[in-house]
């Protein structure tokens, strides 16, 4: 339905519908994992390694068996039970064809610890306090080994060996693209721009720390795991098929309300594995909730790349080729999808929005004695965008060209466009987004604002970031050929009840994205029923048969496409019911606004009436039609989707203190079809804030011994309300041709675009490129001094 005055829809696709899920959250009635308690529940506490790298000579638990302790388990116990190790589900081959070197990753350390926080033992007790007290009484004899912490020197001769499978700590040495074509292009280049970049390590820090409750039903021989997961079915698959907890039909995984994920809750960790395994052993439910410092130590971190990039251009400034060499830190163990992040989620995006004839990327992934690194909001794509948008900016400046015009000159302007690094971009309007973003940002007024800042003794800079990402993850056969261990389709089931209400079961999980609203908007619009009559069911493997979960901005493009397929089937069946009930030919049935009508007659049936007739089954025989109205579908994408846009950041720097204030932010994004603009804007706001956090505030610091110095919110600077501006957003929509709704995805865009925009703005203000992330006041102050020196010399 549409408001006639504004022509903005008030229901269905495109409407700013307020969220159905909000009432429970604003009244304190949300149900997160830590809010759940099982009868007879016990509490797990993990004894963690205080050393980054050490052999375990012995573990003495005798003094820890105090009153209230039910059990203490170590690596020896899981080995005795033949519990499988945690897995990495994406096989990457090195240049020479050899498979990646995956070291064993037991849920409890066996003979060796590899990072501070590594799991040494678990204590299960009547109360958490008792478990903690007992942990202090366990004596572990460690032989401390030299720690490998610095990424740049992690593979040097003489560096300690972290896993025996890799004598130089290299996991793989991978490449993509045509090296020969790139070298030839560089030979004929009129100008070459070179940069060195570090993409700083981040801690995802969803506000809800990870948690798990393992439960075992002795009568059924069945396990239940309540856990903070973005993909409960993937968790069940891994826990069942690889770790060997129980067959899938005897393992239920429930991911109830989840307080943010940002990638960090995709993975299967040691803690939930141990909780569900131990529940059977101790005969009672086992609960574990991370405190914030445990979260800092043991959640999978994000980013952490060192990159050298070079770009070749002709005399007009047309890009000819790019070569990129990256070293990626994967931490102490390979987390669930870690191997894919700096390879297939990174290098295929190095073409950005640009027509670059030749690209060659080399990625060396290494082990270090730090927390495992895996996907964090954007996962590989922010790293690629940072490389592309920094080198393009620097190239434009070196050539003395306007950075926006330089970008537009090199933008792809015809679709489909095959890049030299796998991707086939199928739709976009990059120049249109740039022009609209410039208007929204009032780029024309920047000079005046800069002069006003200068009068006040401040430096002002403006930075662009024209990002692209690949979402709608992913065509299963395509990712299978690249090493993925799973298919990346999505499933949906639409259950129409006899009274015409609808339940939609989806494999997409919602942990802040608002699926309970957007998915219901789709169904309500399609079936012509009020949104209140639609419930979205997710997050329980006993209810939803199978699903691949939420990450990579895939829930709209893939999850909703599965719902569309199921709705197609529901409508087709309902038409048959309506035709039989109204004694008409099926071809004469029309369906619009929730009503089935017979062409050329005044006969009609509301959707609810047809649903009732489908279940009553009085108006047709079993030979004519099967009763009921419930349909399922699996949707496997045919291509990735390519959200893209332009973000423009304006900063004001106080040269006396080095404090950078983000003064203005404008963005025009192309997310394809938008289901609910209010929710999409919220996704951009949050993503940009995380990107500003990466650029200005968030730095993960280990000392030379591998101790994490930033392990609480007192040491790791999270963006707070006064650190970010209000945002001006616009949309420039070109629908994705590859899926039925034309959705591209929006969840990660802000985090992908923002860091380069901020750093380009800061370097614009400073007049030189020497600033690393996070650009803290101290770092910026030092850079200001360099600027002064440079100016004095000139």
């Amino acid at each position: 339905m549409t408001n006639p005055a504004t022509s903005i829809p008030t229901t269905g696709i495109g409407a700013r519908v307020l969220r159905k899920e909000d009432h429970r959250y604003i009244t304190g009635a949300g149900r997160y994992t830590d809010d759940i308690n099982r009868p007879g529940q016990s509490y797990a506490f993990f004894l963690r390694s205080p050393h980054a790298h050490a052999n375990i000579r012995s573990i003495d638990t005798s003094a820890a068996c105090i009153k209230g302790v039910l059990a203490i388990y170590t690596g020896a116990d899981i080995a005795a039970d033949k519990l499988g190790g945690l897995i990495c589900g994406w096989m990457i081959n090195s240049k020479d064809g050899t498979p990646m070197k995956a070291g064993a990753h037991p849920a409890l350390a066996q003979g060796k610890v590899r990072y501070v926080g590594d799991h040494v033992a678990v204590i299960i007790a009547d109360t958490l306090a008792t478990a903690r007290d007992a942990a202090e009484k366990i004596v572990v004899d460690y032989e401390v080994l030299p720690a490998v912490v610095d990424l740049a020197t992690s593979t040097d001769t003489g560096a300690a060996v972290i896993h025996d499978v890799s004598e130089n700590n290299v996991v793989y040495d991978w490449h993509l693209g045509d090296k020969g074509a790139v070298e030839a292009a560089f030979k004929r280049a009129a100008h070459i721009t070179k940069i060195d970049l570090a993409n700083n390590r981040l801690v995802p820090n969803a506000m809800e720390p990870r948690a798990a409750i393992g439960d075992y039903d002795r009568g059924e021989g069945a396990f239940t795991l309540y856990t903070t997961s973005q993909n409960p079915h993937v968790a069940r698959l891994i826990l069942s098929a690889f770790i060997g907890i129980a067959p899938e039909n005897k393992l239920r995984v429930v991911a109830p309300d989840v307080g943010g994920g940002f990638g960090s809750k995709i993975f299967v960790y040691a803690e939930e594995t141990i909780c569900v395994w131990a529940a059977k052993k101790v005969g009672r439910p086992v609960k574990w909730v991370a405190d914030r410092t445990e979260e800092f130590l043991c959640v999978a971190h994000g980013r952490d790349h060192l990159t050298h990039a070079e770009m070749a251009m002709n005399s007009d400034g047309k890009i000819l080729a790019m070569r990129v060499k990256t070293r990626a830190n994967l931490g102490a163990y390979l987390s669930t999808f870690s191997s894919a992040v700096p390879t297939y989620l990174y290098a295929p995006l190095l073409s950005g929005q640009y027509d670059i004839p030749a690209i060659y990327a080399e990625v060396e992934a290494v082990y270090t004695n730090t927390s495992p690194v895996d996907a964090y909001r954007g996962a590989g794509r922010p790293e690629a965008t940072f490389v592309v948008e920094r080198i393009v900016e620097v190239a434009a400046r070196q050539l003395g060209q306007d950075p926006a015009k330089f970008r537009m000159k090199n933008f792809i302007n015809k679709w489909p466009h095959q890049t030299p690094v796998i991707m086939m971009y199928d739709a976009g309007d990059y120049i249109g987004s740039m022009k609209r973003a410039q208007e929204l940002a009032d780029v024309k007024g920047f000079g005046k604002r800069k002069r006003e800042s200068a009068k006040a003794g401040k430096l002002r800079g403006l930075g662009y970031s024209a990002y692209i990402e690949a979402c709608g993850i992913a065509p299963s056969a395509a990712v299978g050929s690249l090493g993925a261990g799973v298919g990346l389709w999505e499933s949906a089931e639409v259950r129409v009840n006899p009274v015409g209400t609808v339940e939609v079961l989806t494999g997409s999980h919602s942990h802040g994205q608002g699926h309970e609203t957007t998915f219901a908007q789709l169904v309500s619009g399609r079936l012509g029923i009020p949104i209140e009559q639609v419930s979205i069911v997710h997050g329980d493997t006993d209810k939803v048969q199978m699903g691949m979960g939420t990450y990579g901005s895939r829930s709209g493009a893939v999850g909703m496409s599965a719902i569309v397929k199921a709705l197609d089937k529901v409508e087709a069946k309902a038409r048959k019911v309506a035709a039989l009930c109204m004694e008409a030919a099926e071809g004469d049935i029309d369906f619009k606004d929730g009503k089935f009508t017979v062409k050329g007659t005044d006969k009609s049936m509301a959707f609810g009436e047809v649903a009732l007739q489908a279940y009553v089954a009085h108006k047709f025989t079993g030979e004519q039609l099967e009763p009921g109205l419930k349909e399922g579908a699996f949707y496997d994408p045919t291509n990735f989707t390519f959200p893209a846009g332009v973000h423009i950041c304006e900063v004001e720097i106080d040269p006396e203190t080095g404090v950078t204030r983000v003064d203005r932010w404008a963005a025009v994004d192309d997310f394809g079809t938008i289901i609910n603009p209010m929710i999409v804007e919220g996704q951009v706001h949050g993503g940009v804030a995380q990107g500003i956090g990466q650029a200005l505030l968030e730095g993960t610091v280990y000392d030379e011994n591998g101790q994490l110095l930033t392990a609480s919110f007192m040491d790791y600077t999270m963006p707070r309300a006064a650190d970010v501006p209000s945002f001006s957003l616009g949309f420039n929509t070109t629908p994705a041709p590859s899926n039925p709704l034309g959705i591209k995805g929006c969840g990660e865009a802000g985090a992908i675009a923002a860091p380069a925009a901020v750093i380009n703005a800061i370097t614009d203000a400073l007049g030189h490129e020497e600033i690393a992330m996070p650009a803290t006041p101290n770092a910026v102050w030092v850079a200001v001094q360099k600027m002064m020196t440079k100016m004095a010399a000139e």
């Binding site: 307020l18 969220r19 899920e21 909000d22 009432h23 429970r24 959250y25 604003i26 009244t27 304190g28 009635a29 949300g30 149900r31 997160y32 830590d34 809010d35 306090a129 820090n205 969803a206 506000m207 809800e208 720390p209 309300d257 989840v258 307080g259 943010g260 940002f262 909730v289 405190d291 914030r292 410092t293 942990h511 802040g512 994205q513 608002g514 209010m678 929710i679 804007e681 919220g682 951009v684 706001h685 949050g686 993503g687 940009v688 804030a689 995380q690 609480s712 919110f713 007192m714 999270m718 963006p719 707070r720 309300a721 006064a722 970010v724 209000s726 945002f727 802000g750």
Partner: protein, 165 residues
């Protein structure tokens, strides 16, 4: 162990707890008021904000014993007679929440800001006053809009957006 009594959301409550029990665990574990969350353990994130004798307090930093005899209000106590508090309504109306985890603390802190600073709050004041509450989802943009609208509604005026409709 100690018997700790207080008034929570208008009801007299009492429980026997370990003396080291924090107020947030007293509320969550003993009273099953799980709307108050623990997000950081170091008084930084504000997911645990409740009102004690009318003032915002981080319940992860106060012993239950310290709150003995006090009037405590949690997120569950804001709704009156089936009617949401104007600040709750404003968070919903302005999409001031996504995953919902920080939301109870945000709403309790926002009401406290209005109690201290009045009902005409500008953006800068709101941003600075929210210093003790971290949200990882929203980028704060819509939280600021929600607090603006909620504060106006607490003062009896109709938030701009509602008036426009």
């Amino acid at each position: 162990m100690a018997t700790v009594s207080m008034t929570v959301n208008g009801e007299a409550v009492s429980a026997v707890v370990d003396a080291r029990t924090l107020l947030v665990h007293y509320l969550r574990d003993n009273l099953r008021l799980t709307g108050t969350h623990v997000g950081c353990d170091t008084s930084q994130c504000g997911a645990c904000v409740v009102h004690v004798d009318g003032k915002a307090v981080k319940a992860c930093t106060m012993l239950a014993l310290t709150a003995a005899g006090c009037e405590v209000t949690t997120i569950e106590g804001l709704e009156q007679g089936g009617k949401l508090h104007p600040m709750q309504e404003a968070f919903r109306e302005h999409h001031g929440l996504q995953c919902g985890y920080c939301t109870p603390g945000m709403i309790m802190a926002a009401i406290d800001i209005v109690n201290r600073k009045g009902t005409h709050l500008d953006e800068q004041t709101i941003r600075e006053e929210l210093e003790g509450n971290i949200c990882r989802c929203t980028g704060y943009h819509n939280i600021v809009r929600a607090v603006e609208a909620g504060s106006a509604a607490m003062g009896g005026s109709v938030p701009t957006k509602m008036a426009a409709e």
